[in-house]
């Protein structure tokens, strides 16, 4: 089977390949030299299995994800549908602001759908969202995902995204994140939204060296 390396991530290498005549992505969790074997094996095994399950559960929750074709626990590989598009990360930096904000609103709705089903993505960054030609967003990379009913975990999920906006998309951070929250509010409803929003603020203030009145939020 031929494989072409597309991208090296922190968790895995992403290859383009083919399976019964169609283009597929092979996500291979390679051995990391810096980790001792005990930790390395545990992480790779756990994440390979979990990611495949979560990709499927997310799809059931109404969030577009690549379809999983094969899971190989021996080789730590997940073979999935190839979704053609650009990363939201790149679009936000280069596309139109108006469109970007619409996408952020949509993204908030998708995150809301996940949380309503008790799924936490665990690594919400703009490079884990693929934007297709017809403006559909696919969520990928569920390696750090898990199930939870805790507001704390939903808060952290959104807080991580906020951090990505503030550090990388800093010019449009506030607007973008506010649109994400609006979309989220629309999906989860006012009551749940308030709880999560309060949590996000709490998590921010918990961090180091926060002059609490200065941390922006909405």
């Amino acid at each position: 089977m031929w494989m072409r390396l597309l991208r090296k991530g922190a968790e895995a290498n992403i290859y383009l390949s083919t399976l019964i005549g169609r283009r597929v992505i092979v996500k291979k969790r390679i051995r990391k030299r810096y980790r001792i074997r005990e930790i390395d094996k545990k992480l790779r095994d756990y994440r390979t299995v979990h990611e495949a399950q979560l990709l499927h559960q997310a799809k059931k929750a109404g969030v577009p994800t690549p379809t999983v074709y094969l899971v190989d626990r021996e080789k730590f590989e997940v073979v999935m549908e190839y979704v053609e598009g650009v990363r939201l990360k790149d679009y936000l930096e280069n596309g139109s602001l108006e469109k970007a904000l619409k996408l952020c609103f949509q993204l908030g709705k998708l995150i809301g759908k996940l949380h309503l089903k008790g799924i936490v993505h665990g690594d919400l960054t703009t490079s884990n969202i693929i934007l297709t030609k017809d403006w559909k967003m696919f969520m990928v990379d569920f390696g750090l995902g898990f199930y939870s009913k805790e507001v704390e975990d939903y808060g952290v999920d959104l807080y991580l995204l906020k951090q990505v906006f503030e550090s990388f998309h800093y010019k449009i951070a506030r607007k973008c994140f506010n649109h994400v929250l609006e979309g989220y509010r629309k999906t989860v409803g006012e009551e749940k939204f308030r709880e999560v929003e309060k949590k996000i603020r709490e998590i921010g203030v918990r961090g180091r060296y926060i002059p609490s009145e200065k941390r922006f939020h909405r």
Partner: protein, 333 residues
């Protein structure tokens, strides 16, 4: 120009340091005294501040003598304005204010963590690195963009230095315990399962600390094995988040800075990650990894050249000053 210099005063936590650095970046002197708490105890802010008060005159004198500089060539006095322990910060600030007013030169406020970063850049020659800053006060992954150091990942609770020192204290090592824990960890062979918490680009160490302390008190495990396992778990979590950010930002330089940067095992891990992503790897020289006056003096030079200064009346210390709040006029994106 070579002769003109900035004097920097560092006093955020256990170290009182004074250094003189020329405007073109030559470190003429870097003197320090480190407060060592009694065995089994951590830093007491008041006692540490008293230590600084006692040692300040000697350290100051040594730094000036060693630099062989005439007072008139000191064109600015910089101090660590924060973040840190209030009483300690105020001691250093008092020394700096007195000096600046006596010498009639500008007083320059410096952010301690930015001091770590700038000194690491000066001493390694990195240009535009992704910085992994690990110390008792900071554990964060930052890169420069749009006039500020932006935080891409950080600890959500305690710092790496904090984790190691608190564990070390309970395990019977002196504080700060980084090098003792590292030496012991080298003798460890068996990995004891400890929790490793990664949240996106962030880490969380409080659960790891609790688990390690419980195992320590259980008395079932060899201390060497536990120290080894603690280091592996903590460093692996940090290394993974560093790799995540490196992949995301696509920077081609990775720089390890701060007190914990002296740890060989951590260096080895980050070096492997840099190589994997074809990034150049830099680590701050050991002598400049821990808190020192040079980080303040050198950042003071950069700030001085860009007219950053503060009047004595407004030079309050900022114990909770956050790294990404500081405008950096001397660095271009």
């Amino acid at each position: 120009m070579g002769l003109k210099a900035c004097l920097g005063v560092e006093s955020t936590a256990h170290t009182f340091g004074v250094s003189i650095v020329t405007l073109d970046g030559k470190i003429l002197s870097d003197e320090k005294a480190v407060y060592k708490p009694p065995m089994g105890r951590g830093i007491h802010p008041r006692e540490s501040a008293q230590h600084h008060t006692k040692t300040a005159p000697t350290i100051l004198q040594k730094a000036i003598e060693k630099a062989k500089i005439k007072p008139k060539n000191i064109v600015a006095v910089a101090f660590s304005q924060g973040p840190g322990l209030g009483p300690c910060l105020r001691t250093g600030a008092t020394v700096a204010r007195a000096l600046a007013s006596y010498l009639k030169v500008p007083l320059i406020p410096v952010h301690h963590a930015i001091g770590h970063i700038e000194l690491a850049i000066l001493t390694t020659g990195a240009k535009d690195p992704l910085v992994v800053l690990v110390s008792g006060g900071h554990t964060c992954i930052v890169a420069f963009a749009g006039g500020r150091w932006r935080v891409f990942g950080e600890t959500e609770d305690i710092t790496l230095g904090n984790l190691i020192d608190t564990y070390g204290r309970e395990a019977g090592y002196p504080t700060p315990s980084g090098s003792a824990v590292e030496a012991d960890a080298k003798k460890g062979k068996k990995f004891i399962d400890l929790p490793l918490t990664i949240k996106g680009n962030n880490v969380s160490y409080s659960g790891l600390l609790t688990a390690a302390l419980n195992k320590l008190k259980g008395g079932k495990w060899r201390r060497e094995d536990l120290s080894y396992s603690l280091q592996e778990a903590a460093f692996t979590a940090l290394a993974e988040t560093a790799e995540r950010v490196l992949a995301f930002t696509e920077k081609d330089e990775l720089l390890l800075a701060g007190g914990v940067a002296a740890n060989r095992r951590l260096q080895e891990m980050l070096k492997a990650i840099a190589e994997e992503h074809k990034a150049r790897f830099f680590v701050v020289p050991r002598e400049y990894s821990g808190d020192c006056g040079a980080q303040i003096a050198w950042t003071g030079v950069l700030a001085y050249k860009h007219k950053v200064k503060v009047s004595i009346e407004k030079s309050f210390v900022k114990p909770k000053w956050r790294l990404d709040m500081v405008p950096i006029p001397w660095r271009k994106t």
